[in-house]
């Protein structure tokens, strides 16, 4: 091999390196750019309609055509709905992920079938959960209500939460479980006292991801939760939600009301942001005991 050949080779490799670096930088720019553009658009277009009354009052003149009042009904409705659905989803999700990670063996068929099912459910479009929730609703003789909405959104959140939690719990080293077993702990004690504590920040994130999906989803609540100008006072009343508020406001022919849709979108985004930050802060507090 001559030195010049080696030189050329080295130059080519350096060139490759530069090209790929540029590509990666460009991709990152796209990601960050999208975020800025979306948030910017919402705020820019929503700003004229952004008044304090947006978050302190219910709509005046109907949610469809009303140009006054606010969307307090949708904010409260969305929070009720997503919180209820998230609690319900945790109740089903946690046992499932603890079972497939602590009780089932690594090569268990049941565990892989469960994971496969969760993956499929994850991919099911939310309108299908809405339709399915609608059928359940009819079956139990419910009308469009907060409860029916909670059920549909819980179905939507369940696979997302489970799969995210599963990824976290899978990382727990087997030796940590063995340490607990060797002290005479049962699997349940190990799951609740060791696994859950070790994974707490990750589990919080899983819950949060699910909550975020739940509060932002329009299709699953379209038939199930209904829409109303009032703030629900019982599980059997219909409930307004932010995504649907945006949907209805955008659908009007009046530019003033359309502006209100962007303001609603900004409120929804900020709401999710606040919840993320709170959860992140909580997660940090629980990392101190984690075993690396």
């Amino acid at each position: 091999m001559t030195p010049s050949f080696e030189n050329r080779r080295l130059r080519r490799r350096k060139m490759e390196e530069r090209i790929f670096r540029a590509l990666m930088a460009a991709s990152m720019l796209v990601v960050i750019g999208c975020l800025i553009l979306i948030v910017g658009t919402i705020i820019w277009k929503g700003l004229p309609a952004m008044k304090l009354s947006m978050i302190t009052q219910t709509p005046k003149g109907g949610y469809y055509l009303g140009k006054e009042g606010g969307i307090l009904n949708a904010i409260i409705g969305s929070l009720y709905l997503a919180s209820g659905a998230t609690v319900l989803a945790i109740l089903f999700s946690l046992p499932v992920v603890l079972y497939i990670n602590v009780y089932a063996k690594k090569r268990s068929r049941l565990a892989s079938l469960t994971r496969f099912s969760l993956d499929v459910l994850w991919g099911v479009p939310s309108i299908v959960y809405g339709a399915f929730g609608f059928i359940i609703m009819i079956f139990f003789g419910l009308r469009a209500s907060l409860l029916a909405g909670i059920l549909a959104v819980a179905l939507l959140e369940f696979p997302i939460m489970s799969r995210a939690a599963d990824e976290v719990i899978r990382m727990v080293p087997r030796e940590l479980l063995e340490a607990s077993y060797s002290l005479g702990a049962t699997r349940l004690e190990t799951a609740l006292k060791v696994v859950v504590r070790q994974c707490l920040p990750g589990l919080l994130t899983a819950v949060l991801i699910a909550f975020g999906r739940g509060i932002g989803d329009a299709a699953s609540v379209l038939f199930t939760a209904g829409f109303t100008d009032r703030i629900p006072t019982s599980l059997f009343q219909p409930a307004a939600t932010l995504p649907l508020a945006i949907f209805f406001q955008l659908g009007t022919p009046f530019p003033e009301v359309q502006q209100r849709a962007y303001a609603s979108a900004a409120i929804l985004t900020v709401l999710i942001l606040i919840i993320s930050l709170v959860a992140r802060g909580l997660g940090k507090r629980y990392t101190r005991h984690i075993i690396k």
Binding site: K105, L176, E178, A179, S180, S182, L183, H289, I290, I291
Partner: protein, 253 residues
């Protein structure tokens, strides 16, 4: 062997899928002595140790034949309660595995599970076993700190305290010093020698010098087979099997 066997392994065979990891191992482990299992890596030392407190159970594709008697009770008998078996033994693993909680809660983990005792008794128990493990002076002012903040050597002694707090009769050590610096290793070895007055100690190691320092009895495993076992002095001075001799002189490792 003059001492009464505390653990009696009888014709124990272990398969991982189709692979035979332990071949028909029979050995009596005497009370209140340190038995050291030696052998090259991959010879089944850890498998033998884990079979003693049924830590092989949760693994995939494991089949176990033969019997393991602890105090005359077959631990693989379906009627035997697995948590009771494990309660009798404290385990030190290769890397210390502190639980994701405070130093205090680590030691209190076992007692809290097994007997409901009041806060005052629990405090005493925690202090007592931290002292036995030689860790009390170093941690008495920061019992609420996360166990993860201790050094690896301290964590291994914490694991010892945690294991002892359950009230076992047997201490199992799976290369308990392999992740530790020389000084911490020495510290752990010294604890083990002290503890044999009250406990039966079984240690797996691949460090021959360590085996010579602490062993009363030696069991030599090679390719899943128990080649030789007996009093340490005898085995080291006069190995009967050529394979043992080859291992002791460093020809096979």
């Amino acid at each position: 062997m003059e001492a009464r066997p505390h653990i009696s392994v009888q014709n124990l065979s272990v398969y991982f899928d189709e692979q035979l990891v332990l071949k028909d191992v029979s050995v009596d482990i005497p009370d209140h002595k340190i038995t050291v299992i030696i052998g090259p890596s991959g010879c089944g030392k850890t498998t033998l140790l884990k079979s003693l407190n049924r830590l092989l159970d949760p693994l995939d594709g494991v089949r176990i034949g033969g019997r393991v008697l602890v105090d005359g009770i077959d631990i693989y008998d379906p009627r035997t309660e697995v948590t009771e078996v494990r309660k009798k033994m404290g385990l030190l693993s290769q890397r210390p595995q502190a639980l994701p909680m405070s130093i205090y809660d680590n030691v209190a983990y076992g007692p809290r599970i097994h007997n409901h005792i009041d806060k005052k008794r629990l405090d005493e128990t925690v202090e007592h076993y931290l002292r036995v493990a030689g860790l009390w002076e170093e941690v008495k002012d920061r019992l609420d700190d996360p166990a993860a903040r201790l050094s690896v050597g301290q964590q291994q002694r914490l694991c010892l305290a945690r294991g002892l707090a359950v009230g076992p009769e047997i201490i199992l050590g799976d290369e308990p010093t392999s992740a530790l610096d020389p000084q911490s290793s020495q510290n752990v070895e010294r604890r083990l020698i002290e503890l044999k007055a009250e406990y039966t100690v079984i240690v797996v190691t691949h460090i021959l010098r360590q085996a010579k320092r602490i062993a009363d009895y030696i069991a030599f495993l090679y390719l899943g087979e128990l080649v030789e076992h007996g009093p340490a002095a005898e085995v080291f001075a006069n190995p009967r099997d050529p394979r043992t001799r080859a291992y002791l002189t460093g020809e096979i490792s």
